[in-house]
Every structure is written in structure tokens, then in C-alpha cells.
């Protein structure tokens, strides 16, 4: 285990790389979910307030 | 000017001529970018010291970066005034293909912004202790390179017309796209500086110019239409 964490002397470079990778992956997942939830909540709020006028989804 | 009686070539010529005439009437539009070009080049000896060997090593890069910045600055004048006084809208309504008219407009801009830089370049190269043998290649590379920059920049200028902060945003869009021009242009000059043949990068610049002339007007016309919406 000690040896694994040591990474043959390259621990200073390998672990920060993986840390940054997890950070970027995590940020992507978090921000996407947050956007999705916010949009969903906004849509539901507008629906509850009866703000949607009848407009058909004729356009794409 | 009606769409039926005016031919394509005639319409383009009219636009081209008009832009040149306007520029000669408002001379500062043409002279400001050159003055800027000269001033930026002057900064380098002041910042780095007057050592001729050092300046000679940097000369190609310095002149090219200054030319790139100055042609970005000049792009502001390409569409802005015509956008504000409605000329651009008239051009889109003229019944002529807009890309064709914008091609003429950008060609005029190339002459107005590129030729002064080409003319000023030998003096600046001499001030940076560059050998006189480099002048031909430097002027050729600048003539071709400012063409590519004008056409690439015409797309960036058209895209940012409709936004509030045009200038800096346009630089953000155009600079990454313009990096190949800088690489080939500076490299051609550098090779001439070392007495090597510089034809390779010059041909590459010429190829990029042809590509830019054929493709950029279409993108510009799409962008102008979006900005006028």
C-alpha cells in the first residue's frame, strides 16, 4: 500500500492528476444535475402558477 | 441601384470604390492602426534593451505580433460605421448576393489596413537591426498574412456587431483562429533572416489566403444577417 501511494517517486504528479480528473468529472456531474433540477423546478413552478399559455410545440 | 440592371461585378466594384473613397476622406481610420503598429514595435527595444543581437533575434516575432494586433484594431472600422448608419442593411436588401458584396468590402479593408503595414514594415525591421535581405520576404508575408487576417477578422467583426462590447470580444474570437497566420508569417521571416529559403511558409500563407477568400465571405454574410435581425 505504501509503495502504491508512493508511485515510484512520482506521487507528486500522479495523484494530483487523478485528483484534478475526479474534480472535473465531479464538477461536470454536479453542474449538469444542478441545471437539470433548476430547470425542472422552474418549469413546475410556472405550471403551478398557471403561467403557461396554450402555445403548441409546432416549432422545433 | 436596382438589382436588375446592376451586374455582380459592377455592384462589387461600387462597394469597393465607395469604401476606398470614404477611407481617403476620413484618413485617421487608415492611419491609426499603422501608428499603433509602429508604437507597439517601439515598445520592445524599450522593454528589452537596445542590444542589436537580441533585437535581431526577436525582430520577426515582434513585427508579426504587432501587425496581428494592429490589424485586429483596424477590424473595428470594417462594419461598425456602416452598421450604425444603416448602410449594411441596405446592402443586404440590395438584391445582390451579400457574400459577394462583403468580399468586395473586405478586399477594400485589406488594402486599407494591409498596405500601410507592408509599407511601414521595412523601416521597423531596420529599427530592430534585421538584415536588409529579409525585407522582401517580410513584406510578402505581411501582404498575404494581413489578407487572411482581414477575411478571418471580417467574420469575427460581423459576429460581434450585435453585441454591446464589440472590441475585446472580437479579439477573443479572432486571435485563436489567427494563430496559424502568425506561425507561418513569423516563420517565413525568421527563415529569411537566417538566409534559408522561405518559399514553404509563404506558399502555406497563400493557400490559407485562398481558403479564407473563398469561405469567409459566406460566414460573414450569415453573421451580418444574424446581427441585423
Amino acid at each position: 500500500m505504501e509503495e502504491f501511494l508512493h508511485m515510484g517517486g512520482y506521487a507528486r504528479y500522479v495523484w494530483p492528476s487523478y485528483g484534478l480528473a475526479l474534480l472535473v468529472l465531479g464538477w461536470n456531474i454536479w453542474s449538469a444535475l444542478r441545471l437539470g433540477r433548476a430547470a425542472r423546478a422552474g418549469a413546475e413552478r410556472r405550471l403551478a402558477a398557471g403561467a403557461t399559455e396554450g402555445r403548441d410545440h409546432g416549432d422545433r | 441601384m436596382s438589382a436588375v440592371t446592376t451586374g455582380l461585378g459592377r455592384a462589387a466594384w461600387l462597394v469597393f470604390e465607395r469604401d476606398l473613397r470614404l477611407a481617403f476622406r476620413r484618413w485617421d481610420q487608415v492611419s491609426h492602426p499603422v501608428v499603433f503598429f509602429v508604437m507597439v514595435v517601439t515598445l520592445f527595444p524599450l522593454a528589452l534593451g537596445p542590444e542589436p543581437s537580441l533585437l535581431r533575434n526577436m525582430a520577426a516575432g515582434v513585427v508579426w505580433v504587432a501587425a496581428l494586433l494592429s490589424s485586429l484594431l483596424a477590424l473595428e472600422s470594417l462594419y461598425r460605421a456602416d452598421f450604425e448608419d444603416g448602410t449594411l442593411e441596405q446592402l443586404t436588401l440590395s438584391g445582390q448576393p451579400l457574400a459577394w458584396l462583403l468580399l468586395a468590402k473586405t478586399l477594400a479593408h485589406w488594402f486599407l489596413s494591409g498596405i500601410p503595414l507592408v509599407v511601414a514594415a521595412p523601416v521597423l525591421a531596420a529599427s530592430l537591426a534585421a538584415p536588409s535581405t529579409v525585407v522582401g520576404v517580410l513584406m510578402t508575408s505581411l501582404a498575404l498574412g494581413t489578407g487572411v487576417l482581414s477575411f478571418l477578422g471580417s467574420v469575427g467583426a460581423a459576429l460581434t456587431l450585435g453585441t454591446r462590447r464589440g472590441g475585446v470580444l472580437m479579439s477573443l474570437l479572432v486571435l485563436p483562429l489567427a494563430m496559424p497566420v502568425l506561425i507561418f508569417g513569423a516563420r517565413a521571416t525568421e527563415q529569411a533572416m537566417h538566409g534559408e529559403p522561405a518559399a514553404g511558409p509563404l506558399w502555406l500563407l497563400a493557400a490559407m489566403l485562398i481558403l479564407a477568400i473563398t469561405l469567409a465571405p459566406w460566414a460573414s454574410s450569415a453573421a451580418v444577417r444574424i446581427s441585423l435581425d
Binding site: 480528473a21 403557461t52 | 453585441t163 485563436p176 460566414a219
Partner: protein
């Protein structure tokens, strides 16, 4: 005819919303498994490189992020072109949703490249051809996002940024070529070599798993983000009333 109707159906927001929602787990679960497996294989199972020792393990996050940032730019440009030509708002939504993902992976690629370069080159930044191209790609993303945020009107932002994305994708090969050419003249030291077929399977398989995992993760993220965009863009449409409960 069949494909065309299918395409039209998919391009209609309610259908897309439903289908994308159903697809998310099918992308996300394999992505998670592949990334976890790939990183485990890369960190633990793969033998150290005979030249670079353990430092080569950075490849398992560096190379897939380089790949994904390019995939994202291509997707963005193709989606933007589809949106511009056929006036499909959903395609614009996809382009808009892709940009921040691609930019984040371009940045990750630069950061891990720098961390890898430090022990190999002895400097944090070397003007290596691949890293320089990646840096310019990152700048292209920044320009795209800056242009998008400069417009208040969504429709104009969509179309203006689409033109920029198309001009950008035409330029990407030119930039790549010019940077390679520039670098070869300066005799750059390319230590970061991509593993060719010479890589033993114990090194290669985790790498391929990471490539696949990152790509599937992008698909899942794009589904989530485009669904959010659709809800925002279709704020007045009637079909929202029939939204299934979350």
C-alpha cells in the same frame, strides 16, 4: 423516409425530452463502470512503463480528456451546423450544452499534461505540439462561450455562435497542422507519446475503457443538460403540462 420521420420525431422537444430521460441511465451506468474499471486498471493492474515508470499512469486521465475535448468540439460544430441549416432548436441546445463540458476537459487535459511534463521535461510547461494545439482549442471554447454570453437574445446567440463553431471546426485541422509544423522546426521533445499497438494489453485495455467511459459520460451529461435547456427554451409550450413526475 423512415429515418427522416424518426429524426423529425426526435427533434421535437417532447419526444426528445422523454427519450433522453430514458437514455440517461443507459449511458451513465456503463460510463461509471468503465471509468472506475479503467482508472483501477490504470493505477493498479497496469505495469509501470519501462521508460517513464509510474508517471505514465497520468495517461489514463490525460489522453481520454484530450480525446473528449476534441469530440465535444466536433459534436458542437456539427450540431451548430444542423441547427443553422435546418433551423432545429434542439441542435442549438446540444451545441450550447456541449461547450462547457468540452472546455472543462480541455482544461483537464492541459493541467494533467503539465503535471506529466514536470517529471518528464523538468518544466511545468513545454511548448509541445500537442499541448499547444490543446491550448488553442481551449481558447476556441472560451471564444465560443464568450460570444454566446454576449447576446441577450437566445435565438441570435444560437445562430451567431453556430457560425463561430463552424468557422472554428474548419480551422482546427489548420491550427493542428501549423502547430505541428512549427514544433517540428524547433525540435520539440515529445515525451508524451500516445500508446501505439505496441502497448501490452494490461496497459491498453484500461486506457480503452477510459476512452469509452469518458465518451459515454459525455453522452449522459449532454442528455441531462439538453433536457434542462429544452425546459428553459420551451417554457410556454403546452406539452410541459403532461410532464411525467420527476
Amino acid at each position: 423516409m423512415g429515418t427522416w420521420t424518426w429524426f423529425h420525431k426526435l427533434a421535437s422537444p417532447p419526444h426528445f425530452y422523454r427519450i433522453a430521460g430514458r437514455l440517461i441511465p443507459w449511458f451513465a451506468v456503463p460510463a461509471a463502470l468503465l471509468i472506475a474499471g479503467g482508472l483501477y486498471g490504470g493505477l493498479v493492474r497496469a505495469p509501470p512503463d519501462y521508460q517513464q515508470g509510474e508517471a505514465f499512469r497520468i495517461i489514463y486521465v490525460h489522453a481520454p480528456s484530450a480525446w473528449l475535448s476534441l469530440v465535444c468540439y466536433t459534436t458542437m460544430a456539427v450540431a451548430a451546423a444542423v441547427g443553422l441549416i435546418w433551423r432545429i432548436k434542439l441542435a442549438h441546445a446540444l451545441a450550447a450544452a456541449t461547450a462547457p463540458i468540452g472546455a472543462s476537459f480541455a482544461l483537464l487535459c492541459l493541467a494533467t499534461g503539465s503535471l506529466w511534463g514536470r517529471p518528464m521535461w523538468g518544466t511545468w510547461w513545454e511548448w509541445d505540439a500537442r499541448l499547444t494545439s490543446q491550448l488553442i482549442l481551449f481558447f476556441l471554447y472560451l471564444g465560443y462561450m464568450a460570444l454566446r454570453s454576449a447576446y441577450d437574445d437566445l435565438g441570435r446567440a444560437d445562430r451567431a455562435s453556430a457560425v463561430l463553431a463552424i468557422v472554428g471546426i474548419v480551422n482546427v485541422p489548420i491550427i493542428h497542422f501549423s502547430v505541428d509544423w512549427w514544433n517540428s522546426l524547433h525540435q520539440g521533445s515529445t515525451v508524451i507519446r500516445k500508446g501505439g499497438p505496441a502497448m501490452p494489453p494490461s496497459m491498453l485495455v484500461p486506457l480503452l475503457m477510459c476512452f469509452a467511459g469518458f465518451t459515454l459520460l459525455y453522452a449522459a451529461l449532454a442528455c441531462i443538460r439538453v433536457r434542462a435547456e429544452v425546459l428553459e427554451r420551451e417554457r410556454n409550450a403546452t406539452w410541459l403540462r403532461e410532464l411525467p413526475p420527476a
